[in-house]
């Protein structure tokens, strides 16, 4: 069915607003996440070369980590050897937030999933959402009140 067009007032000239934000300029090459910027800056992969709980992450480092590094050139991935401790992934975000995920006794595929989740996330604190729609301009045609006459 044809949509219902309701013209209001005269036909205004369409003026193209000034486009673009200058946030793109000077940003590191590669893709962007929050308004054009990836939020995960650094990923530390901590593992042990002896312990059995690090078996999965050692396999991950052989199988999936090179491809993960290539897919995310903007991300700084660092290997760290920690003996006598369980392995974990540490993510450092642009808003100075840090997220640690313990990956002991996990399969390489699960560790890849967790690493991808760290990369996909913004560094914001994980709290229950108040609203699913965040806006600064809630009304375009004017907020309705009981006094509005149509």
């Amino acid at each position: 069915m044809h949509p219902l067009r309701v013209p209001l007032g005269g036909a205004p000239r369409v003026v193209r607003p000034p486009c673009g934000s200058d946030k793109m300029a000077g940003q590191p090459l590669g893709q962007m996440a929050l308004r054009g910027v990836w939020q995960l800056q650094k990923l530390i992969v901590s593992y042990s070369d002896w312990g059995g709980s690090s078996r999965g992450i050692r396999a991950f480092m052989e199988l999936h980590l090179p491809a993960f590094k290539e897919k995310n050139p903007q991300l700084e991935v660092v290997d760290e050897l920690i003996r006598g401790q369980h392995p974990h992934l540490k993510g450092f975000y642009r808003n100075k937030n840090q997220r640690t995920i313990c990956v002991k006794n996990m399969d390489p595929e699960e560790i890849l999933l967790h690493a991808t989740r760290l990369r996909n996330a913004l560094g914001r604190k994980v709290v229950k959402l108040k609203t699913r729609h965040v806006t600064k301009h809630p009304s375009v045609q004017g907020t309705w009140t009981t006094d509005v006459k149509f």
């Binding site: 949509p3 005269g10 000034p18 673009g20 929050l34 308004r35 913004l122 729609h133 965040v134 806006t135």
Partner: protein
């Protein structure tokens, strides 16, 4: 009912025997055969034939209930077997379905069914983050509808076929409006498009599902984290956008703003 069934079989077999002109068998052999009486035949044989079927339990007063209950038990057992089998198959299919490889056509089709279309990755040269325009649209993603404007953020259910930092076009637009014009879709506006960029795929905070039945020693705790996608709306197309008034500082109020006339439903 069972008695009638017995008689029915008996009389039918008897009828076949008589029609073939064999020697009339003894009553015992007659009765041992499965019978299927028609009503007139039953009435003929009813007087002479004792209603004794091979399965004596059919004669008990509780025969019907027993039969029914046994049949029901059998049916339930079969149903349970079937259900468990189906559940296993469904479980297996869902477990394998999570890692299912989608062909590009399937991806597009499923994405279009939900209401969005992946355009491509965001390039560095794209200038998509524009300042605010006084245009809004009501867009549907999956089963949820949102009233969006330029620069808004939306949290939807996890969109499967797009990565972070990819451009999307949401094509299920139900209503578009600006300060001068409103277009109502029936049910969607066909030439409208809402552009968005995927900002993040993240997990919501954990909610704990706690079940308890008091005084029954039953308590269950389950944690759940919903997977969400955050979209940032960059552009709304398909409606006449209002004229942007650029006034130089010394001159004031030269142009009249177009009047806001809301639409009657």
């Amino acid at each position: 009912m069972a008695n009638r069934r017995c008689l029915h079989t008996l009389s039918r077999r008897a009828w076949t025997l008589f029609s073939t002109n064999t020697s009339i068998p003894s009553l015992r052999t007659l009765l041992s055969l499965p019978i299927q009486p028609n009503k007139p035949i039953a009435s003929q044989f009813g007087r002479g034939v004792t209603t004794r079927c091979p399965h004596p339990r059919y004669f008990s007063s509780n025969s019907e209930s027993e039969d029914v209950s046994e049949d029901d038990d059998d049916e339930d057992y079969d149903e349970e077997m079937d259900d468990s089998g189906e559940d296993e198959s469904v479980g297996n299919s869902s477990a394998s379905g999570l890692k299912r490889e989608y062909s590009p056509e399937e991806r597009e089709a499923e994405a279009a069914a939900i209401g969005y279309k992946v355009v491509g990755p965001l390039e560095r040269s794209d200038r998509v983050f524009k300042p605010y325009e006084a245009v809004f649209a009501v867009v549907q993603i999956g089963s949820h509808q949102f009233k969006v404007s330029n620069g808004d953020c939306i949290f939807t259910e996890r969109l499967k076929f797009c990565e972070v930092n990819e451009k999307l076009i949401l094509n299920k637009v139900l209503l578009i409006g600006s300060s001068t014009q409103t277009i109502i879709g029936r049910p969607i506006v066909p030439e409208a498009a809402v552009h968005a960029v995927v900002e993040e795929h993240a997990l919501d905070a954990k909610v704990i599902i706690f079940k308890k039945k008091r005084r029954k020693n039953y308590r269950r705790t389950k944690g759940h984290r919903q997977e969400l996608t955050k979209l940032r709306i960059t552009d709304i197309q398909g409606v006449e956008k209002p004229e942007k008034i650029v006034t130089a500082k010394p001159t004031k109020a030269a142009e009249k703003k177009p009047e806001k006339v809301p639409v009657t439903a």
